[in-house]
């Protein structure tokens, strides 16, 4: 594996792709440097959809800024509002009721399910296996309807608020029962899919050994999340988060770091998410949803890291008379861009898009980074 080193001499043939390209859903620019259709070097440029959301958050009341963080990304919107609330709660020392913590975990895991299903479906689509893609999209619809049932909207749920969760997201008996039944349905569907997928020798030969990211490189590039775990490193922030203390789950790893490992990684992790949701349903404590018993004070810059479907999400800001200052958000795809560039090297040009997709890119959320230089 170690001979996969980027070349430093001049490569004459360049194949640019993007910024708007049929093969890529989101606008970004990739330059492939090829020799005999083998990619020797790849370069990803982002910044096309820069909107400057941190600038909008600057000086807003913290409650408003929290709901604004949802608009960073339409896939992991709940993770952003969760981590943003968590930052303020850590700064202000707000105690969160247990029931609210459980509902947050349920929402987070449902979001992980829908994000992983989207990844599997998109991966199968890039593989040109539309039947598999449709099967996963059909499964994903069950998760989307559960999210709509809890949050009231299919994409931006607005579940977390300062000190707990919104009263709309209360889980009564009927909702818990539906959640429980749908978990069985999803598990059955996913088991079917995984069995059919791994038994398909054609698909397996297409994805085995493609887009390899060696473990050493993954650690050097600071890759996070499932892309790192697919190279064999058991690092999951959920094991350190206090929200997940009550739950019993495994950190899934895969050995190879190729497309097959990445796809199986997501499928196996979905089973763990189903497991966590089942534990949450059976043990959910009684109590109130929001803790209003706190006072707004000025805080220093507070940092919070959580594990989101794509890796480690970082939020930090200070509070000044109830308003957000010096906000910085760092999304997991920022770190995974290096992995995408590296995974393409040494593969056919036709597999390059697959190699990029295997790292689960989300350039929408990555494109809002502003560097704040403090003196």
């Amino acid at each position: 594996m170690d001979e996969k080193v980027p070349r430093s001499n001049i490569i004459e043939t360049e194949i640019p792709m993007g910024t708007v390209h049929p093969a890529a859903l989101e606008p970004y620019r990739v330059r492939f440097f090829v020799e005999d259709e083998i990619v020797q070097e790849a370069e990803i440029t982002i910044g096309v959809n820069h909107r400057g959301i941190e600038r909008i958050m600057e000086g807003l009341p913290v409650q408003k800024a929290n709901s604004l963080t949802e608009k960073i990304c339409g896939i992991c919107s709940n993770s952003h509002i969760w981590n943003s609330c968590r930052t303020a709660e850590m700064g202000l020392g707000i105690e969160i009721p247990d029931r609210a913590l459980y509902i947050r975990v349920i929402m987070g895991e449902l979001e992980r399910l829908h994000s992983h299903f989207l990844y599997l479906a998109h991966g199968c689509e890039v593989l040109s296996h539309e039947t598999f893609s449709m099967r996963v999209f059909y499964l994903r619809e069950i998760v989307m309807e559960l999210l709509a049932m809890i949050g009231g909207n299919r994409v931006q749920y607005g579940c977390s608020v300062l000190g707990g969760v919104r009263p709309r997201c209360e889980l009564d008996e009927a909702k818990l029962l539906r959640l429980k039944n749908d978990m069985d349905k999803i598990e059955e569907g996913l088991t079917d899919f995984a069995a059919r997928f791994t038994a398909d020798s054609m698909v397996m030969s297409r994805i085995t050994g493609i887009g390899v990211l060696p473990q050493k490189q993954a650690i050097e590039l600071a890759v996070t999340g499932p892309s790192l775990r697919a190279t064999g490193v058991a690092r999951d922030l959920r094991t350190t988060m206090f929200e997940y203390e009550d739950f019993d789950f495994n950190v899934i790893t895969q050995p190879d770091g190729d497309v097959k490992s990445n796809l199986l990684m997501r499928a196996l992790e979905s089973f763990e998410s189903i497991n966590i949701i089942r534990q949450a349903i059976s043990n959910i404590p009684e109590g109130k949803l929001v803790n209003h018993d706190w006072e707004m004070v000025d805080t220093d810059i507070t940092e919070s890291y959580i594990e989101v479907p794509r890796g480690t999400l970082y939020h930090s800001y200070a509070l000044e008379s109830g308003r957000v200052r010096h906000c910085i958000i760092r999304t997991p795809s920022m770190a995974n861009i290096g992995a995408m560039q590296y995974a393409c090297i040494g593969d056919q040009l036709t597999d390059a898009q697959l190699c990029i997709v295997q790292c689960d890119p989300c350039f929408t959320c990555t494109d809002r980074a502003i560097e704040v230089i403090r003196r």
């Binding site: 708007v20 909107r51 400057g52 990304c73 896939i75 449709m134 999209f137 929408t364 494109d367």
Partner: protein, 148 residues
């Protein structure tokens, strides 16, 4: 009904352009067209990524500065008759990003989409619901079929 309309009625091709929103509308639209639950293909509506094949252009997102030219180029590349659907509150009015820099005029956001290309139908929502997207695209079909 002419022969063009007759054949067009059996294969409406929709193209999606993403101009810098949050990806929420984007995925909802791709899913509503693609996924078996809200199957748009039962109405003979298909998804394409080639502007020269497209009849309907669905635009999401507030148009960011760097996305303006690609959007115009894609609009030019679509053959007549063409229709544009703006989907989501960002495409309709710039959404939360419009007043990015407060009172200081922003060069970052060029939207709403109406400022750049003519819009035939608007689908509100943040994010749009798949049912609304289907209704919006299907409501345009008579206009498209009466074009020639």
């Amino acid at each position: 009904m002419g022969i063009k309309s007759f054949s067009r009625a059996r294969a409406i091709h929709v193209m999606l352009v993403y101009t810098g929103g949050c990806n929420g509308c984007d995925i909802e639209i791709v899913n509503s067209i693609l996924s078996p639950r809200f199957d748009a293909e039962q109405y003979n509506v298909f998804l394409t990524w080639n502007p020269r094949e497209a009849d309907v252009l669905v635009v999401t997102g507030p148009v960011t500065h760097l996305n303006r030219k690609p959007l115009e180029a894609i609009y030019e590349a679509i053959p007549n008759p063409k229709l544009v659907v703006a989907a989501g509150s960002c495409a309709l009015m710039g959404g939360v990003y419009k007043n990015c820099y407060g009172d200081i005029p922003s060069e970052e956001i060029e939207g709403p989409v109406e400022n750049i290309i003519p819009v035939n139908a608007k689908i509100p929502g943040c994010a749009v619901r798949p049912q609304d997207v289907l209704a919006g695209v299907v409501s345009l079909l008579p206009t498209l079929l009466d074009a020639d």
